[in-house]
């Protein structure tokens, strides 16, 4: 366990409700063949460490109950948590907001040496895109090749969304997840609605 300063940032008093970066817009947008929705208030942890370190991999597995994806651009997920490969030493963990500190603590419990876990839950929100024309929306939004032949289920990439960046994931056949930065969320939403 490192000496990193952590605390349960989610542990708010009962009367406090969090506000998503898209609270000022409607939380879903439906047009013919496309459904765009926000999934607010998830927990996000950035994990850093050495993928070649067996102990590190084992520690992550123990803490999250999931293998650490070491293949580039892969996404591994369980019912509660997902891990997305971002770089050889960086992963994005997504979990229910209320359990974020539990996983963060578990990681610190299990890991040692040179690693880092950073709570970035306030910094992101997730959009989902589904429907027959979801691909058409993506073709207009990212230069990454999202054709099913190239972007199969279980793939996840960090790339561009118009003039912003996005973590683009395909957790299952029928749905795309787009994780966008809080401050760009309004732009991303308006862009996607514009091209739907």
């Amino acid at each position: 366990m490192s000496d990193a300063a952590i605390f349960d940032q989610q542990a708010v008093a009962d009367k406090v409700t969090g506000q998503s970066p898209l609270h000022h817009l409607s939380s879903s947008h439906k047009t013919e063949g496309v459904v765009l929705e926000e999934v607010p208030s998830l927990g996000y942890l950035t994990l850093r460490g050495d993928a070649n370190d067996e102990a590190f991999r084992a520690g992550v597995h123990k803490a999250l109950g999931l293998e650490l994806p070491v293949q580039p651009m892969t996404l591994l997920q369980s019912d509660t948590v997902s891990i997305q490969w971002l770089s050889p030493d960086e992963w994005m963990i997504v979990c229910p907001g209320a359990r974020c500190f539990e996983f963060e603590s578990a990681l610190h419990e299990q890991l040692s040496g040179h690693y880092a876990v950073v709570n970035v839950s306030g910094g992101y929100t997730m959009l989902t895109l589904s429907g027959d024309r979801a691909l058409d929306v993506l073709y207009q939004s990212t230069a990454y090749d999202v054709h099913p032949r190239h972007f199969g289920t279980g793939k996840a990439v960090a790339t561009t969304l118009a003039k912003a960046t996005v973590f683009l994931r395909r957790p299952d056949d029928g749905k795309w997840e787009l994780i966008v930065r809080r401050s760009f969320a309004d732009y991303c939403w308006r862009w996607l609605v514009g091209v739907c």
């Binding site: 990193a4 300063a5 989610q10 208030s41 950073v118 090749d145």
Partner: protein, 1004 residues
């Protein structure tokens, strides 16, 4: 209404759907399936424009993208005005309104035309450069007149009502051009399993198959065409894009395609539809099946309306059922001209003669013509045209090719149309976009694409013309493309076509006249820019020997058609004048676009609110509701000030400033860059990237840091907090956040990979709420469990706890000089905390303030803004921040070495000082230049400038920060700022701290 040139039957137009359109104020009718050009020809409209320079009457000469003359203004309303639309590529729609782009008072009777006739001889290439020089003072007047004659169409004056889309596409094989070659190559690749995109610029796919009389599998071409297209359309991995022009071929097989989605439907796109769409395609292989352009021949008065390239006539007959005249003379140097004559004859009109420059042609098409009893004049040429606004006849003579001279008696053949064919030029434009020069092939007398990785020219584009050879070539290409992309090539059965023997073409570009080139009537090479053979000859006479020089001197190929018809002829004419071959003369470089593309299509949806992202903090909606005005800082929208009622900016800022100094203000500081830094070497790393020391900063403490580049110039600053022994939170300037993170990674990844440290952006995660002012402690105490006792929670420390029930880190740091707390909470909860603070608004006089007040307050304390008080040429020493420089740190930190270079160690550099205007009510202008002697003549010696300047409501006078040469040694001196209105502001040089110089207030 009759359409005199429309055949009773034939063509691919829908005669059940007549369409009405207006050209130059007259109403005409055409049919669905027409282009504007075919409809005009059907209605026997011969003059469609006036030429650019000589204002000569011009008609339609071609049927596609190569058309130089029929460039019109489109649009019934102001907002729908579309300049320079090529009539041959504009589908007709009901209600279309178009007009000629030149001609006054109208295209039939044009005043400039008279001028052109009289003064044309005075306007050889380069005449602008040889005249209008005296007197010098008159040039701008002359220029106004020159400009009046400029341009083709006009820009609309209102905003475009349409929208445009962008699509990113990826495929294995992109096939450009859906003629027979493209269809075969695409089919083979698609059958093999490849992802295929097939595009074609025309309304319908099929290319030459749309107007050929040849049969495939013994049946009309149309049958094979529709079967093939149906088969492709049924394949889910094939994208068919008709009306789509490949306009730019960029590096690494990146091709831009412009799909005209609604341009054929009306002036504006139907509801919900984009006007056009840019497809940005990344392909593993690009098949160039772009075909070829037929070259017209250069002879005198070859621009008179009624002159056509021969293939265009076949197209008008077969595709639109339009014959543009009654009496045709064909001028050809190959068998194509015969096909045109046969089509004309078979349409029931009279062929006056086929004039063939070759003495002995006898191929299939020649025999066909002979069978029909057509008059053929072999070994003869058309060297001049009779007529001005319409062809009345063709002057014909025998000639000697070797001597390049007419030999016989000239005879006039009366006619109303002349079709000419000088052979074919492969459409190599796209292949040349990435810099590869086309290669000349003598056997086909044309340029073909150079070999470039990933690029597969086929068919006409590759110099292969007979249909059966085209199909075979395309089959090979399709197989190659499939194999290259890792697929096993599939079987594909080519249709059977006849191998029609053609007689050898003659390499012919220009035709001699009875007079020498310079004295002959105009022999046009580039119709759009009125470039003649004489102009080219003159250019070479004046010493322009490079083809690029000739092009630039004559403007050849600079038009909106980019010389598709004229360039090769121009090169041939240049080559002849220089006594060179065409390959020795070389080509000019083709560049994107192949055909012009609307700005709006290229800009796409990135307009107005989507032009650039607007970044918002978690508190933005509150600021909006409170009536804040916003300032653009990088991509962020930050509250600038919060006016109440009709308050002026000055009054609002004064009120906000006083609230902070006397009570408590609140600022949304969330935009500051924040970087989480962890690892056992984090502290060492900070020591290397900051100018000051970090080894002793204890947990719970914070410190200001200054960052330089290795040239010693200040690049960023901010407070970094020690969260744990190996855990820090760095803050950066708002604008610098992304660049600084990349900067840290750069040094870590490339220079010091051995240091164990991780950097992660938490800018968006943390919302930062600053409360500052004497009441801030009392206010915060209302809603926090953190012990705020002054001795327990000191200046430059941080504590963890809850604020308004939300877990928070609170930093006691100050950018105003007042007692301040920066509350950091996860952004989702920021609004709750902010609103809870405002429950105490009246109790403590809590006042929201924006960046302007922040600037005033920080400047009163002499705190710098990087980028405003620095400009990339300022060192920490220049700023007087020696206290922030760890000269004796063991590692030679970034920027240290540069500070001892001769110029950076000069004592008289520009240094940051304070300025106090001698008159209290004067607020110096930011950017004002400082002089020591206001009475010196211009140019004055400037010794610095004002970087920040404000009125201080606290001090009740103006004050400023400035960079001043040797400023640190000028304390007490008076300096001067001469203003444009003649006033000279005077100010005393003082220290940079104007308020609370001992710093007591932040320590209370």
């Amino acid at each position: 209404m009759t359409q005199p040139n429309r055949l009773a039957q034939g063509g691919r137009v829908n005669r059940d759907r007549p369409l009405s359109f207006v050209f130059n104020g007259e109403t005409y009718q055409g049919y669905e399936g027409d282009t504007l050009a075919s409809a005009l020809l059907a209605n026997a409209v011969s003059v469609v424009n006036r030429s650019f320079k000589y204002a000569r009457p011009r008609g339609i000469v071609a049927a596609g993208a190569e058309e130089p003359n029929a460039v019109v203004q489109l649009g019934a309303s102001e907002a729908a005005q579309t300049p320079n639309v090529r009539a041959t590529q504009q589908a007709l729609y009901d209600g279309l309104v178009a007009s000629s782009t030149n001609g006054w008072p109208n295209v039939q009777r044009d005043v400039m035309g008279l001028f052109g006739k009289v003064a044309g001889k005075m306007m050889p290439p380069g005449f602008y450069n040889k005249t209008f020089m005296a007197p010098a003072s008159m040039w701008m007047t002359y220029e106004k007149l020159i400009r009046k004659a400029a341009g083709l169409g006009r820009s609309p004056r209102e905003q475009d009502p349409d929208r445009y889309e962008h699509f990113h596409r990826h495929c294995d094989v992109l096939v450009i051009g859906a003629g027979p070659a493209g269809l075969v190559a695409a089919s083979v690749a698609a059958n093999s399993g490849a992802r295929v995109i097939l595009c074609d610029e025309q309304e319908q796919m099929g290319g030459c198959l749309l107007s050929t009389t040849e049969t495939l599998n013994g049946k009309p071409a149309n049958q094979w065409l529709s079967e093939t297209l149906d088969h492709l359309a049924a394949n889910p991995d094939v994208l068919l894009l008709p009306r789509t022009t490949a306009n730019g071929y960029h590096d690494h097989n990146f091709v831009t395609l412009h799909e005209r989605v609604a341009e054929h439907l009306g002036d504006t796109a139907p509801e919900g539809m984009a006007r056009s769409r840019m497809h940005q395609v990344r392909a593993k292989r690009v098949v160039l099946s772009t075909g070829s352009h037929e070259r017209p021949l250069v002879y005198a008065n070859n621009d008179v309306p009624g002159n056509f390239v021969s293939g265009a006539i076949s197209s008008y007959i077969h595709r639109y059922g339009v014959v543009p005249g009654n009496q045709l003379v064909v001028m050809t140097a190959n068998d194509q001209g015969y096909r045109c004559a046969i089509d004309w004859y078979d349409a029931g009109r009279n062929v006056v003669a086929i004039v063939d420059a070759r003495p002995d042609a006898d191929g299939h098409w020649v025999k066909q013509a002979e069978e029909r009893g057509l008059r053929i004049l072999k070994g003869q040429v058309v060297f001049d045209t009779k007529g001005t606004k319409a062809v009345q006849g063709a002057w014909v003579s025998a000639w000697n090719a070797e001597r390049f001279a007419l030999t016989g008696e000239a005879q006039l053949l009366e006619c109303d149309a002349i079709a000419s064919s000088g052979g074919f030029s492969p459409v190599v434009h796209l292949a040349a976009h990435t810099g590869a020069r086309p290669v000349w092939r003598d056997d086909i007398q044309g340029f073909v694409p150079a070999a470039v990785k990933g690029q597969l020219p086929t068919g006409g584009c590759n110099g292969v013309y007979p249909l059966h050879q085209v199909l075979a070539d395309a089959l090979d290409t399709g197989i190659t493309a499939a194999l290259d992309c890792g697929y096993e090539a599939s079987r594909f059965i080519l249709p059977e076509v006849d191998d029609l023997v053609e007689s050898a073409p003659l390499a012919l570009f220009e035709i001699p006249h009875t007079k020498a080139t310079m004295r002959a009537p105009y022999q046009f090479v580039d119709l759009q820019n009125d470039v003649t053979a004489a102009a080219i000859e003159l250019a070479t006479r004046e010493g322009f020997e490079s083809i690029e020089h000739v092009k630039r001197y004559t403007a050849m190929g600079f038009g909106t058609d980019q010389g598709k018809l004229g360039n090769i002829n121009g090169m041939a004419i240049t080559a002849r004048r220089l006594g060179q071959t065409i390959p020795e003369t070389g080509t000019t470089v083709f560049r994107p676009n192949y055909t012009p593309v609307p700005f709006g299509a290229i800009a796409g949806p990135h307009r107005r609110e989507l032009f650039d992202p607007k970044r918002y903090t978690a508190l933005h909606s509150w600021h909006e509701q409170r009536g804040a005005t916003f300032e653009d800082v990088g991509l962020w929208k930050r509250p600038w000030y919060y006016p109440i009622g009709n308050e002026s900016m000055h009054d609002a800022v004064s009120r906000e400033c006083l609230a902070v100094r006397n009570k408590v203000g609140i600022l949304d500081a969330s935009t500051l860059g924040k970087i989480d830094i962890q690892g056992k070497d984090a502290r060492e790393f900070l020591g290397r990237v900051y100018t000051n020391k970090w080894e002793k900063l204890g947990i719970g403490k914070a410190r200001y840091g200054l960052m330089c580049k290795d040239d010693g110039m200040v690049t960023d600053d901010g407070v970094t907090t020690c969260l744990g022994d190996q855990h820090f939170l760095m803050t950066t300037t708002t604008g610098g956040a992304a660049a600084i993170l990349e900067w840290l990674e750069l040094w870590h990844q490339t220079e010091w990979p051995e240091l164990e440290v991780y950097f992660n952006s938490v800018t968006d995660h943390w919302a930062t709420i600053t409360i500052t002012g004497p009441n801030s402690r009392a206010l915060l105490r209302e809603i926090t469990d953190i012990d705020l006792d002054r001795d327990k929670f000191k200046f430059m420390e941080w504590r963890q706890g809850t604020v308004a029930g939300v877990p928070a880190r609170v930093y006691r740091i100050s950018f105003t000089g007042e007692l301040s707390y920066e509350i950091n909470v996860q952004a989702d909860f920021a609004m709750h905390v902010w609103q809870t603070l405002f429950e105490y608004e009246n109790k403590y006089g809590l006042t929201p303030y924006g960046t302007e007040t922040m600037h005033v307050l920080r400047a009163e304390k002499g705190f710098i803004i990087v980028g405003q008080d620095t400009d990339g040429s300022v060192t920490p020493e220049d700023l007087g921040m020696q206290w922030c420089i760890g000269y004796d740190k063991p590692f030679s930190w970034i920027g240290k070495r540069a500070l001892s270079r001769p110029d950076t160690s000069r004592r008289d550099r520009k240094q940051l000082v304070g300025l106090k205007p001698l008159k209290d009510d004067v607020v110096l202008e930011e950017g004002a230049q400082i002089v020591l002697d206001p009475n010196q003549p211009i140019p004055m010696r400037m010794v610095g400038h004002v970087t920040s300047s404000y009125f201080s409501p606290t001090l009740n006078h103006g004050f400023a920060l400035a960079l001043l040469m040797d400023g640190h040694n000028r304390m007490g001196e008076i300096v001067f700022m001469p203003m444009p209105d003649g006033q000279v502001h005077e100010a005393e040089v003082v220290g940079t701290v104007f308020y609370d110089s001992k710093g007591d207030r932040q320590n209370v």
